[in-house]
Symmetry: C5
Subunit: 353 residues, 5 copies
């Protein structure tokens, strides 16, 4: 499967703006969860029918509607009709093969974003699309799979921790997105630790290491490609003149933007580090080759001349004067030791060992 | 033929603005196809004469005039005269060796764009120029060859699928361009799959692989160079104050722009990947060389000293004391095994095998 | 000679703004050629004296004064005095060692640009400075050498082809510059073809090839450095509020700008390609080295042990039991074949050949 | 530990804006030091309780409150409450794992910055977060550890050196930040000296050197990543319309900005230098390998043929004519010397030694 | 000494804005030279006391005060007091370890710039700080050492060449800066020539060459780092709304800006060229290694099998049938020649020589 591209091929020929689910078909049923809260109280509700969920929304409180499993186009259609949302932004909620995006009209903001998991055992990144619709007093979140990203936010609502129960829907949206970006940093740290741990193994450059580093580099590229567009999303949101985001929430989104920048920074640094490690790997391979060659050269350069000398006195010429000399054999050994000694001295002086 | 440059040489000396076909001469005859439609109905007509086709245009409906094979300058000239279009933009329709472009005057928009095919068997990109003229109630599309790019749009018109029959000419132009850009992603995915499949073959770095990777890199560069200028075209279109594009179509063009950005993103990622694969290839070549050298060194370092020892006792000196010793031959074997053992231990300890 | 820098050293100490010719002294005499034309007629005149040429200018027609050989500072001085042009721009006409430039005052536009030739046989780029002064009804062009760049324009004027006879001086300037930029593409295509032809020769990486590629890379860099500043010239011209360029000429200059961008694009692509080819060359050298080493290793690893065996039985020990065995010689051959066979199997299994 | 990322994991699930210390727990107690000064006098006070320190602030003088050890969230909370500072900026004071930052509201400016130390012996960078709050007549500085960064400023206040006693709180903030940036340059110079000293050792490329260079490169990257965001902080501060920074202080902050740019420049240069040194290292390794191979080739190419010749006359054929020739042995030596001589001449001519 | 960083360490702890000389202490005494001129006349004066020099300034003429040797802080202090110049800009005049800078207030412009020398024999760049203060009718120039940079300007004043005597102080400043930038190009050309001359020596890649190229690259980086900030200085000057620079001087400063851009361009090109040469060097080293290995392989592959054959017939087996054959010796030679011939044919066919 092409890593850097989820196919739009399925929808080829479909009219633009038509609502067709274009991610990988998931088997699980869609789960609908509604939390209503205000400063004083919070209540939670499960629904299996989107229509009832929409009816249960209470505009006197803040409503957070979380929909797990977005493969039923019908549900999104009903949401769109209910809130009168432009179809183009909704199409993006269904098409999980695109980049993070920001849509805005007078009454709704749609944010398409990505959750990233790093599966430590397989050293693999997986990406899930998480979409948000911000409406007056309502936040709707769509997840590809049933996940537990937002549990920290849920528990803050339940236990009335922090500002969340006292704030508007735009703060809730911030809190949810903040959870995602926090996750980037946590997953990145794990990937980073694995990359850094390669350094120690490089002194003995095994073939597997280069494949591993290449693999990390691909994952890092994928990570980068995934989180980079979120920066643009936040720039558009911060520059927007929408009244959906209240002035007192702006510093929080600004802070979120800084966090995204920090993530991108870290990704770039790890990307550079894999490059450096690959170079170091190559350098170590060259060093190793050099060592091997030195061993060969030392052995060959010493013993080939000696073998030659021995060869000379193995010839069967009728008259080889040295052969008759008394002790010639020992003289030969002496000469051989001298030759070997000179060679070793040469190699030593040139710091070959 | 120079890949990155289609010659303007043919037209050298021609007056700028003169209408001369500068692509590669195609043999097929020009085909003219007109679709007229409104919310209620659609009708299709074939013409062999451009004059009649122009007469058949009905300004009470939306008219889509598709002209396959643009090598007859005369046809374009008549179109230009009929609609009173500035010659400079029309020249670009004929000159297929240029980049995607955007022209605009008060009554017409001309978009020069490119269709890209990836021929899987030959692993080669081919590019065709597709030009569009948007006029009041009329879209004219020019294709270099008779192709079937626009069949999905045609069938949406015939079967009244989506918004197309209810919309204006600017939406039709969007739908046609969207088909082209969708095609980028589909072709890119195929090329991408082939590139990714190289990774598995890299463990045994054959010479052909480096040529293949180089070839992919060239194709990717060519792809990138081809689709990049379309981004600029859409920026100009989106920033333009023309009344030809209605406000309700702007989000669709914005969406198209995002799709082009996604394509460029993916191209860049595959470009980086070919680079990484080439580096990995080189690393594997070095690793292989290292292995080969280790084999040589192990054999040579063990057997050259042993041969030397044998050589010593092959000499014909009158007095070589060892030769007379009983069992000296077996002692020699013992010494030899010891030497070989020490060597093997040394290599083992240095993790040579 | 420093390729990337024509010396200003000659003029060191000269007052800025003084008119001194700073190119390489050319021997040929200056040639002055004047074409006067309007819609109805055109006439051509040769002069040897600049004073007379200036007097011959007829403000009721469009005048194109072409001056070949700009090494006589006196001529430019007279031109400057006659039309009252600021000295600073004129200095640039004389100083051929600078980048393309744009000067503008209320009554004159000066464009310094470059013509590029690719000498196919020597694979070398040469650059000539071409300067233009646009005045009311007058274009003056200065060429370093007597060349034939502008023959296509001349013949269009003579034969009244295209818009040129019907247009103003600003269109003439466009037509002249267009000829130069067209030339970039033609020369680039030739250089490009030569670069692409290297690919086929890379399978046998001769030493000369790397020098050739390095040479191409230097030429491409030089080409790039030469044509890049023209983009800025056209940006300044297009943004300028001068009344010298009429609104109806703007699209032509816009088109010229696109052409320059296309040239720069192509140069960048060829630059990238030389880099890729150099890398491929290095990869092929490594592959070759690997092959050589495999041959060596196969031969050495097979025959060194065999020679060792033979050496054993060449020793002169008194008691070597095998020597007395009947058929021991043939047994030795058998052992040797087995050893060689095992080795060959090992190399085969590791895909060494 | 992931170098490029201090974990936010600890705070996962915490409400954004909640005050939790997220650096590495330090054992030392918090130290609170207050200096009050004006043109005429200065006085210093130590506190163990933040409440008393806050009460001791005298708005008729300039107050500098330095808090060493920021791990007690309670202290920061009291500071925030006392001066009514928005919690979001304060959170950043506690969270030491982030980039340099700038916060501003109508009555306070918060600057999060970094001090960098280069530990020469271990060749390691360590980073400490230093935060500043600028209020009317008050500067509060927070340090992670008890350090002596600000002693020069302290002594200038005590001894009334320079403008500091005559200036407002914004000048004091500048003076403190200037001390940090000065420190960047000093530490960078030490790191730079170590990097430059590697060059001399490169002629004999030991394996340790490549690891050392890789290590320096990582440190330089870390340095760069740490100081780069401060540039943005100063841009925001300089562009801000706050009345907290008086016009007469702007040139000082501009100067500080230039100094930060100079630091970043120097970091980039050293980064480039480590890259170049790594390349030079690789080149030297290749050169060394070449030398080794030459030695091997010279020895092998000379002695292998000679050994072959000797081998020929060691054969036991019944009839080998040369063996009976008188002086054949000496002729063999002559042939051998000739062969060796020819080989040496060949190697000499090809400049092998 | 750290090349990319002149230490600010000396001034550590000094109050910002205090006037301390931070360059390397020069032994020579400060020289003060004043030229007064107007259209009609010019006069020159030497002073040893700055006070008298300042008194000698005549506001009815243009005054150029040149101060060689800026290590006496007292002199600069008096200049500052006399003209009432802000201390911050003056500090920069004294601190020679910084980048080119531009300061401006209502009555003075301070430009800190750099002169670059290329010492051809040692192939080393040296940099000197040259600062200028432009005041109404006065230009003050400060040089680190007594140099002769400005002799061309001096002689133009004396001999009334060009516009200088007819112009204001801002033109004089331009003329002085122009001399510096001209010098960049001249020195760059010399360095460039040396770099280009390396190319010819690359065919025999000596170890010294790689060190030389590395050295050139460092010098080029240093050059680049030195001249780049001047571009920014000129941008600030050109954008400034100061009345100190008259409109008629703007084109000259624009021209100067173009010259700086040209210098930076050339530096970048030479930087790229050193990179390319280093790569070519590495390629040549690989090619050389390949050649060496081919020689080794050819010799070893031919003679090792032959020696093996000879070894076979050197064995002392009782029964080796071939030994008794008549002419077996000559048959052996025949076999050997065949083997060698086959090998040579193989090597030839694979284009090994």
């Amino acid at each position: 499967m092409a890593r850097f591209l989820k196919s739009r091929a399925k929808a080829k020929g479909a009219a633009p703006g038509s609502l067709i689910f274009m991610g990988y078909q998931k088997m699980e049923a869609t789960k609908i969860h509604l939390i209503k809260f205000n400063t004083d109280q919070s209540s939670e509700h499960e629904f299996s029918d989107i229509g009832e969920a929409l009816k249960a929304i209470d505009k006197k409180q803040i409503n957070w509607l979380n929909i797990d499993g977005i493969h039923e186009a019908e549900i999104i259609k009903q949401v769109g009709n209910h809130f009168n949302i432009s179809f183009l932004g909704l199409e993006s909620v269904l098409n999980t093969g695109q980049r993070s995006k920001y849509f805005e009209d007078e009454e709704a903001i749609i944010v398409i974003s990505k959750a990233v998991y790093y599966h430590k055992e397989e050293s693999k990144i997986s990406v899930e699309q998480i979409s948000f619709i911000l409406l007056d007093k309502v936040v709707i979140s769509f997840q590809e799979k049933t996940g537990d990203h937002f549990n920290p936010v849920r528990s803050r609502i339940r236990n009335n921790v922090g500002k969340i129960r006292k704030s508007q829907a735009d703060y809730l949206l911030y809190a949810l997105m903040d959870t995602l970006v926090d996750n980037y940093l946590i997953n990145l740290e794990q990937l980073g630790n694995q990359i850094e741990s390669v350094e120690d193994k490089l002194s003995n450059p095994q073939k597997e290491l280069s494949n591993l580093l290449f693999h990390y580099k691909t994952e890092i590229s994928y990570f980068r490609k995934t989180i980079r567009p979120l920066k643009e999303v936040l720039i558009r949101l911060l520059r927007s003149k929408t009244e959906m985001i209240h002035p007192e929430s702006i510093p929080y989104y600004q802070e979120l933007y800084d966090l995204v920048e920090q993530s991108i920074d870290a990704v770039e640094n790890y990307f550079g580090m894999t490059n450096d490690l690959l170079n170091l790997y190559n350098t170590n391979v060259s060093n190793k080759a050099n060592e091997v060659m030195k061993v060969l050269t030392i052995f060959a350069s010493i013993f080939i001349p000696l073998t030659f000398i021995a060869g000379i006195y193995g010839t069967n010429f009728e008259y080889v004067p040295e052969l008759q000399f008394k002790n010639a054999y020992f003289v030969m050994w002496g000469v051989m030791f001298s030759v070997a000694g000179v060679m070793l001295y040469f190699f030593k002086r040139h710091k070959w060992f």
